[in-house]
């Protein structure tokens, strides 16, 4: 368990914006994962995508680490921002761009 948590922290801190998703941005395997990838693409924010379907240990470990039962999971500067519902709501209200500005994440 401590090994997987160390791996998770490593992944979360490997980029300012990290999206844990089902599939990849090019070939998403779930509509909710696709929506969040499209939001990030639309905003032009650089992000690292991690395919949890390719890594069952990471997938199960993240649910416990984040106390969040589903994917996608969007992290900004090491903090869980939310899943699809929250990411979409924050995109629509402009809060996501405001968060990127606050955290120094470049975007279009």
């Amino acid at each position: 368990m401590s090994d997987i948590n160390a791996r998770i922290r490593n992944e979360i801190e490997s980029s300012a914006v990290v999206l844990f998703m089902k599939g990849t941005p090019q070939a998403p395997q779930c509509g909710f994962s696709m929506q969040v990838a499209q939001i990030l693409n639309h905003l032009g924010a650089p992000y690292k995508a991690v395919n949890v379907l390719a890594d069952p240990e990471l997938r199960e470990g993240l649910k416990l680490y984040s106390n969040w039962p589903t994917f996608p999971q969007l992290y900004v500067k090491g903090e869980l921002v939310g899943g699809c519902d929250i990411a979409r709501e924050m995109f629509e209200t402009g809060e996501l761009v405001a968060l990127f500005d606050k955290e120094g994440v470049p975007h279009a």
Partner: protein, 76 residues
């Protein structure tokens, strides 16, 4: 396995007593619900923390017994 609306509302109210819970059936099968939960106790918390409070109300039953709950949270 489905969960009827009164059980969803009961679990949320047991964890968040002042919550106002609005449920919409997404598929009519008691298994896919959308919920809007409004509570003064959400004020000042991030959306993730608000959702985690609601998720916690279900113990381990969310994702197993209740298949899907699309959640919107609001501070009162």
């Amino acid at each position: 396995m489905p969960m009827p609306a009164y059980e969803i509302e009961r679990l949320i109210l047991a964890a968040i007593p002042d919550a106002i819970v609005e449920l919409t059936a997404l598929a009519g099968d008691d298994d896919h619900w959308a919920a809007t939960v409004t509570s003064e106790s959400f004020r000042g918390l991030s959306r993730v923390k608000q959702h985690q409070m609601v998720n916690a109300a279900f113990g381990g039953r969310l994702g197993t017994e209740l298949h899907a709950l699309a959640l919107t949270t609001r501070a009162a």
